[in-house]
C-alpha cells in the first residue's frame, strides 16, 4: 500500500513537469489584458468593452455592433491594432529568442544580442541612414533591410569564428563579443563622420514599436513563425542539453547540431525584430527569467510562456512609452531598460552562486 502511494506520488510529479494548463491560461490572460489595454488607452478614450466587440465583429462569420463611430473604429483597427500586434510579435520573438539562447548556451545571462545582432543591425542601420537611403520609417525602407542584413552577417561571422576557436560555447560567446566590438567600432566611426545624422541614428537605436498600417507586422510575421516553429520544436532537446554537452551526447543528443539550429533560428527572429523596432534591450533576459521564477526552469514551459508573456510585456511597455509623456513618445528601449535594469541586478544577485 505504501509502495503504491509512493508510486502514485512519483507519477503525479512526472506528469506535472512541463507546460501546465494553468500556466498557459495565465500567459493567455496576460496577452488578453495587454492587448485590451493597448487598444483602449490612448489620446482618444474608447471603452474597453466596445473595443472587444469591435474586434469580435472583425472575425469571419461574426456580426456585432460595437457602437463605435467609424473614426473610432478606424483608430482601433487601423492605428492601435497593428501597433499592438507588432508589439506582440516583437516582444514574443525577443523573449523566445532570449530563452532559446539561454538554454542553448546554458547561460542565464545570454540574450538574443549575444552574437552581435545588435551591433550588426546598428551598423547596418547607421550606414543606411548616413547614406541617405531612407529615414528609418516604413517596413520596406532600406534602413530595416540594412539592419536585418547586418544582424544576420554578424551572427554568421560569430558562429563561423566561434567554431574555428574550438566549438565550445565559451569560444562562441567570445567570438560574438569580438564581432560585436568590431562592428560597434565601425558604427562609431561612421557616426563620427556623419554627426548630423546622430539624432536620427540614436532614435533608431533606442527602439520603437511604430507602424504605418499593417506592413511592419506583415513583414515580421514569417520570421516569427519560422523562429517559433523551430525553437518550440527543440524545447525538449534544450532540456536535455541542460546537463551539458557531454552528458547530453551520452543520452543520444547531438549537442552541437541542436545548439546551432536553435541559435540560428532564434537569431533569425531577433534580427527581424531588431530591423523593424530597433534595439530593445532586456526583454530577452527579463521575461524568460520572470517566467522561470514563476513557472519553473523546464524549457517545455519557459519557451512557450516566454512567447506569451514577452508579447504582453512589450505591448504594455509600448503603452507606457506612448502615454507616460503624451503626446511625446518615450523610446521603448528606455521603458524596457528602466524596468529591466533593476530586475537584471536582482537576477544577478539571486543566481550568482549558480552561474559562477
Amino acid at each position: 500500500m505504501t509502495a503504491t502511494q509512493g508510486g502514485d506520488r512519483a507519477e503525479t510529479a512526472l506528469r506535472a513537469a512541463g507546460l501546465r494548463p494553468a500556466s498557459l491560461v495565465a500567459g493567455l490572460a496576460a496577452v488578453v489584458v495587454a492587448v485590451t489595454a493597448g487598444l483602449t488607452i490612448g489620446p482618444v478614450d474608447i471603452a474597453a468593452h466596445r473595443v472587444v466587440i469591435q474586434l469580435l465583429d472583425g472575425l469571419p462569420g461574426v456580426s456585432l455592433d460595437s457602437g463605435l463611430s467609424d473614426a473610432h473604429a478606424a483608430i482601433v483597427e487601423q492605428i492601435r491594432l497593428p501597433r499592438v500586434v507588432l508589439g506582440l510579435l516583437v516582444g514574443a520573438t525577443l523573449s523566445m529568442s532570449g530563452a532559446a539562447y539561454q538554454g542553448a548556451f546554458r547561460n542565464p545571462l545570454a540574450d538574443p544580442y549575444l552574437l552581435g545582432i545588435a551591433a550588426g543591425a546598428g551598423l547596418g542601420a547607421t550606414v543606411a541612414i548616413t547614406s541617405n537611403l531612407g529615414d528609418g520609417a516604413g517596413a520596406l525602407d532600406p534602413v530595416p533591410l540594412a539592419a536585418f542584413a547586418g544582424a544576420l552577417i554578424s551572427v554568421t561571422v560569430s558562429y563561423a569564428a566561434g567554431h574555428l576557436g574550438g566549438r565550445s560555447t565559451a569560444s562562441l560567446i567570445l567570438a560574438g563579443i569580438a564581432v560585436a566590438s568590431f562592428l560597434t567600432a565601425c558604427q562609431t566611426y561612421v557616426l563620427q563622420a556623419n554627426s548630423d545624422a546622430f539624432r536620427q541614428i540614436f532614435a533608431w537605436i533606442l527602439g520603437r514599436i511604430a507602424t504605418s498600417g499593417w506592413s511592419e507586422p506583415a513583414l515580421m510575421l514569417p520570421y516569427v513563425v519560422v523562429t517559433a516553429a523551430v525553437v518550440l520544436r527543440y524545447r525538449r532537446a534544450l532540456d536535455v542539453l541542460a546537463v551539458g554537452d557531454e552528458e547530453a551526447a551520452a543520452l543520444g543528443l547531438e549537442p552541437r547540431r541542436v545548439r546551432m539550429i536553435v541559435v540560428l533560428a532564434a537569431s533569425l527572429g531577433a534580427a527581424a525584430a531588431v530591423s523593424v523596432s530597433g534595439l530593445i534591450g532586456f526583454v530577452g533576459i527579463i521575461v524568460p527569467h520572470a517566467v522561470r521564477l514563476a513557472f519553473g526552469t523546464s524549457n517545455r514551459a519557459v519557451l512557450p510562456l516566454s512567447v506569451l508573456f514577452g508579447g504582453a510585456f512589450m505591448v504594455l511597455a509600448d503603452l507606457a512609452a506612448r502615454t507616460a509623456l503624451a503626446p511625446a513618445e518615450l523610446p521603448i528601449g528606455v521603458v524596457t531598460a528602466f524596468l529591466g535594469a533593476p530586475f537584471f541586478v536582482l537576477v544577478l544577485r539571486t543566481s550568482r552562486r549558480e552561474i559562477w
Partner: protein, 274 residues
C-alpha cells in the same frame, strides 16, 4: 560468454597528448570490470571513448550495435554515470530521471506513459519514490548519486559505465551505491565497467580488475591476481600491505614508520605480516 563491450588496440590522442595507447579490454555480458590506475592514467578517457565522446583509433565493439555513429542507438546500449554530473539548476528529480528515456523517445517526442512507468519503477527501486518533485540540486550527496544512477538505469542499456561513482560519498553511501549496482546487475543482467580509486572496493565488487597506467592496460585478471604489493608499488607508486580477507584482498597503505618497524620482522612474499 559473449563480450558486451570490447576494445582492441584503442588509441586516443587529446590535444597532442597520447592518452590511451593500444588498450585491449573486454567485459562479458553480466560481468563487472573495474578499471583502476593512478590519476591521469586515462580511465575517464577510456569510458569517454566507449561513449563515442572522443575521437579514437582502434576498434570498439558494442554487442548489438551495428552503427556507432548514431548517438541515440549507442545510448540505448551504454548508460553513463559521470564522475561529476552537471546538475541543472531547478530541474526536478522526476524530469532528471526521465532524461534517461531520451534515446528511446527521440528528442522531439513527449515521454510516453511507458517512459513514466519505467521512471517511477526505477525511482521506487532506488528509494527515491518520494523525491520526484524535489529539485536535484537540493538532494544530499548520496541521494544525488542515486538520482544520477536512476537516470542511467532509465536508459535501460545493457552496459553501465560508472566513472568514480563513490568519490563524493562517505563509506556507508559508497557501500550502498555499489551494493545497489551489484543487485541491479544481477537482477537485470547488466554489464558494469567502472573506474574506482578505492582498491579495496574495486576488489570487493569487481569480477575482474584492469590496471591502466600511462595509457596502457598493464594488468588484467581477478582481484587477487592483480592487486599485489608489487603491482601497486609499480603503477601507483604506493607502499601497501595486502591483507587477505574471505571477501577479497584488503589494501592497507603503510607509513614510513610502520615500514621501518616491519623491516625488523620477517615479511611474506605477498607483503603480509606472518
Amino acid at each position: 560468454m559473449t563480450a558486451a563491450v570490447s576494445v582492441r588496440a584503442l588509441d586516443v590522442t587529446l590535444d597532442g597528448t597520447h592518452v590511451l595507447r593500444g588498450v585491449d579490454l573486454a567485459a562479458s555480458t553480466g560481468e563487472w570490470v573495474n578499471v583502476i590506475g593512478p590519476n591521469g592514467a586515462g580511465k575517464t578517457t577510456l569510458l569517454r571513448a566507449l561513449l563515442g565522446l572522443v575521437p579514437f583509433d582502434g576498434e570498439i565493439d558494442i554487442s548489438g550495435l551495428a552503427d556507432q555513429r548514431r548517438r541515440a542507438a549507442r545510448a540505448r546500449k551504454l548508460a553513463y554515470v559521470p564522475q561529476t554530473p552537471v546538475i541543472p539548476v531547478g530541474m526536478l528529480v522526476a524530469d532528471y530521471v526521465l532524461l534517461g528515456r531520451t534515446p528511446h523517445r527521440g528528442v522531439f517526442a513527449a515521454e510516453t506513459a511507458n517512459d513514466r512507468r519505467i521512471a517511477v519503477e526505477i525511482l521506487e527501486r532506488l528509494d527515491l519514490g518520494g523525491f520526484g518533485e524535489r529539485a536535484v540540486q537540493s538532494l544530499s550527496g548520496g541521494e544525488r548519486q542515486r538520482a544520477v544512477l536512476a537516470r542511467a538505469l532509465a536508459q535501460q542499456a545493457d552496459v553501465l559505465l560508472l566513472d568514480e561513482p563513490t568519490t563524493a560519498l562517505d563509506l556507508g553511501h559508497q557501500q550502498d551505491v555499489l551494493e545497489l549496482v551489484d543487485a541491479l546487475r544481477r537482477e537485470r543482467g547488466l554489464t558494469v565497467v567502472a573506474t574506482l580509486h578505492d582498491l579495496t572496493l574495486a576488489a570487493r565488487y569487481g569480477d575482474r580488475i584492469a590496471i591502466l597506467a600511462h595509457g596502457r592496460v598493464v594488468e588484467t585478471g581477478p582481484p587477487t591476481e592483480v592487486l599485489t604489493v608489487q603491482n601497486i608499488a609499480a603503477h601507483f607508486g604506493a607502499t601497501v600491505r595486502i591483507v587477505d580477507d574471505p571477501e577479497g584482498p584488503v589494501i592497507v597503505p603503510t607509513t614510513a614508520a610502520g615500514r621501518s618497524q616491519a623491516a625488523s620482522a620477517p615479511i611474506t612474499q605477498n607483503g603480509d605480516q606472518p
